[in-house]
């Protein structure tokens, strides 16, 4: 191959996801290509550390606060999910409690819980994907890493991103969970065309009724590449409860490795 041909071939390769989405024959292929592109743009983030706070509100307007820290590790192999440790700082009675998750694609995740009062690490069942995370409107499955192959996709239409990003155009993509024990029949997400980030997601319950809406706001870009939301508003339409999850600035590539996400290190985490 001549030099020019090689450059051309490389250029075609580089824009092929865009071409795929532009020329996808079916809405299914187009929907998947959008998810692949979101995933591709996030490759290589390595590991990260972030401080989060959660405000839980009930229908009467009473609120309760959680403070937690999330450490995450990217596992580059396509067939293996990412790993994360969540450590709770507030409320005080669960301070130091830590939750370790090894995400799988379709198999059940491996999960452990560290209870500091007893110094006990318990392996727990991960069947509880649809259960509330610390009493919030987020389910476990809403917070684990969003691996592409966990869902089937269908592109529905293009439209303005709406309230979460009124100046942007979005792909509207329906996705159905392929993993077992999901609480949802489907999710409809609005993914912006510029950065391929989810801006809004609607969750439909097992009876296919609209259950929750998630707005992902305050995106910031790190290291010139990785976009992260800094505010997630989850509203439950059936109970009137809502949860706001906010993130302080992320630290990337802080030097975490597989060894930091082993069960036996959980009791050393702070």
């Amino acid at each position: 191959m001549g030099k020019l041909q090689r450059i051309l071939a490389l250029a075609v390769l580089a824009i092929s996801p865009v071409l795929q989405s532009a020329y996808a024959e079916t809405p299914q292929e187009k929907g998947r290509a959008i998810a692949e592109e979101t995933d591709r743009r996030d490759l290589g983030w390595g590991d990260s550390d972030v401080v989060m706070s959660m405000i839980l509100r009930n229908a009467e307007g009473e609120s309760s606060v959680r403070e937690l820290r999330l450490r995450s590790l990217e596992v580059p192999e396509r067939g293996v999910g990412d790993k994360s440790i969540t450590v709770f700082d507030k409320p005080r009675d669960i301070e130091g409690t830590a939750f370790l998750s090894h995400t799988k694609i379709l198999d059940p995740d491996d999960q452990w819980l560290y209870l500091p009062a007893l110094k006990r690490v318990k392996r727990i069942s991960s069947k509880n994907k649809s259960g509330p995370f610390v009493g919030s409107e987020f389910a476990y499955e809403d917070l684990v890493s969003q691996e592409v192959d966990r869902y089937d996709y269908t592109w529905l239409r293009d439209e303005n991103c709406g309230e979460a990003a009124p100046t942007m155009e979005c792909f509207v993509v329906e996705r159905t969970p392929l993993y077992e024990h999901s609480g949802y029949t489907k999710q409809v997400s609005w993914v912006d065309k510029q950065d391929y980030q989810p801006r809004k997601t609607e969750f439909y319950d097992r009876k296919d009724a609209l259950l929750k809406t998630l707005l992902q706001l305050d995106y910031k870009q790190y290291q010139g590449q990785y976009w992260r939301t800094h505010r997630m508003d989850m509203t439950n339409h059936q109970t009137g409860k809502s949860t706001t999850l906010t993130f302080e600035d992320y630290s990337f590539k802080v030097g975490l490795s597989e060894g930091d996400f082993e069960k036996n290190r959980l009791k050393r985490v702070r």
Binding site: K90, P91, D93, K122, R123, I124, S125, G135, K263, N264
Partner: protein, 405 residues
């Protein structure tokens, strides 16, 4: 002059740059847990010396001070503990739950000082867990532990984590005062006797390997040293209810295994112990099965069952146990609400004589800094030959209000 200003400015900048780092390290955190407890004993005591108090108040304090530096790889932890009980002089006590230095090295971590270590998987009995002595005055379930002085080295590897323990000082078990409830009417002497001439200074050793293999969590351990369980000897002919604790030298090998699949947790703990009469095996095996999101709600309902077997001699050469051939059944209701409400109810039934310990534990948070815990224990149908019989009239309900500062 100008250069002087520049240098001063540069110096200030440097100082300013260095200041936040200085201010952060060591990173010191302090907290305090304060608990107020009421124990209600609905029945009159069975045994003469026991005080007849229907309501026993007590409170406890547990401060925690931690300091870490070098980016968190070095950490000092200090957790003193004190309880004051109006009706049990032995329950009024202090302890150092933790006082240690942790260093997370490259490929190892090291703890020097008093610490707490838990091994095991089952719920109704903790057979394998042997590092820490039980703080027996806290609750009859023996789940509260005294701080154990130790040097602990843990080395993680692809083949699992290997941990080594040297425990240079032994802690005696605590027992309720003879005239308090739940004492079984006996006075356990403060002056313990030991198998080892070194007494409480016998250096105890332990090693443990633990690994996750797919859906299996496995631990293998061996302990060589002073038994945490004493034999209680009646050495005082004038008063047979005066007992002397005797701590034998033992060797105990332990296995703990959990298989996690779907909503099932299958659990096994097994030990073999030498030094208490004939070498004997003991085991606890069972499961926990959880129904998640019952009836479309957020609540989880768990069912637990465990069988307890213990093959130790019953001729006095080994400490007595209630768990020689018993069955535990229980249920756990987790509300998954904002207040983390949960209830665990269970019964341990002696398969031979039907003696039953009924337990209920419930807790919920109140606001952001308070929590309430309720514990009820009932001793039912106790056979006259069973150890429970001495507790038969000591059924109790305890309510604890905890404030976190």
């Amino acid at each position: 002059m100008i250069s002087g200003v520049r240098i001063a400015a540069a110096g200030l900048c440097l100082a300013a740059g260095a200041l936040p780092a200085l201010a952060k390290e060591p990173n010191i955190e302090t907290s305090l847990e304060l608990g107020m407890e009421l124990r209600v004993f609905p029945n009159d005591p069975a045994l003469g010396p026991q005080r007849d108090r229907a309501v026993s108040p007590s409170f406890y304090l547990e401060p925690e001070i931690t300091a870490d530096w070098n980016g968190g790889v070095d950490r000092l932890t200090l957790v003193p503990y004190a309880r004051v009980d109006r009706d049990d002089d032995s329950r009024t006590h202090v302890d150092l739950r933790e006082a240690n230095w942790l260093h997370i090295g490259d490929g190892y971590d090291l703890v020097i000082g008093a610490d707490k270590v838990f091994w095991g998987v089952t719920e109704s009995r903790h057979l394998v867990d042997i590092v820490n002595q039980s703080d027996g005055v806290e609750d009859v379930d023996l789940e509260d532990k005294l701080g154990q002085p130790m040097v602990q080295l843990a080395v993680p590897s692809d083949l699992g984590t290997f941990s080594f323990f040297v425990m240079p000082y032994f802690r005696e078990r605590t027992f309720p005062d003879a005239d308090a409830r739940l004492s079984s009417g006996v006075r356990v002497d403060d002056d313990a006797q030991y198998d080892s001439d070194a007494e409480e200074f016998h250096p105890d050793l332990a090693v443990r390997w633990s690994q996750v293999i797919g859906d299996f969590d496995v631990g293998l351990s061996h302990f060589h040293g002073t038994s945490r369980e004493p034999r209680l000897l009646a050495l005082d002919p004038a008063n047979p209810s005066n007992l002397t604790p005797y701590y034998d030298q033992i060797d105990q090998t332990g296995l703990d295994l959990q298989y996690t699949t779907d909503a099932w947790l299958w659990k096994l703990e097994a030990i073999g112990r030498g030094g208490h009469g004939d070498y004997f095996p003991a085991a606890v095996a069972g499961f926990e099965y959880t129904l998640f999101g019952i009836r479309g709600s957020d609540m989880d309902l768990g069912f637990l069952a465990e069988y307890q077997y213990d093959g130790r001699d019953e001729d006095g050469s080994a400490p007595g146990t209630l768990a020689n051939n018993d069955t535990f059944v229980g249920t756990r209701l987790t509300f998954n609400d904002v207040d983390d409400t949960s209830i665990l109810a269970g019964a341990v039934v002696d398969n031979e004589d039907g003696s039953t310990l009924l337990s209920l534990e419930a807790e919920r948070r109140i606001g952001d800094a308070w929590k309430v815990e309720a514990v009820a224990r009932f001793f039912l149908n106790a056979d006259s030959e069973n150890g429970l019989t001495a507790l038969e009239r000591d059924d109790f309900v305890s309510l604890t209000l905890i404030r976190y500062f």
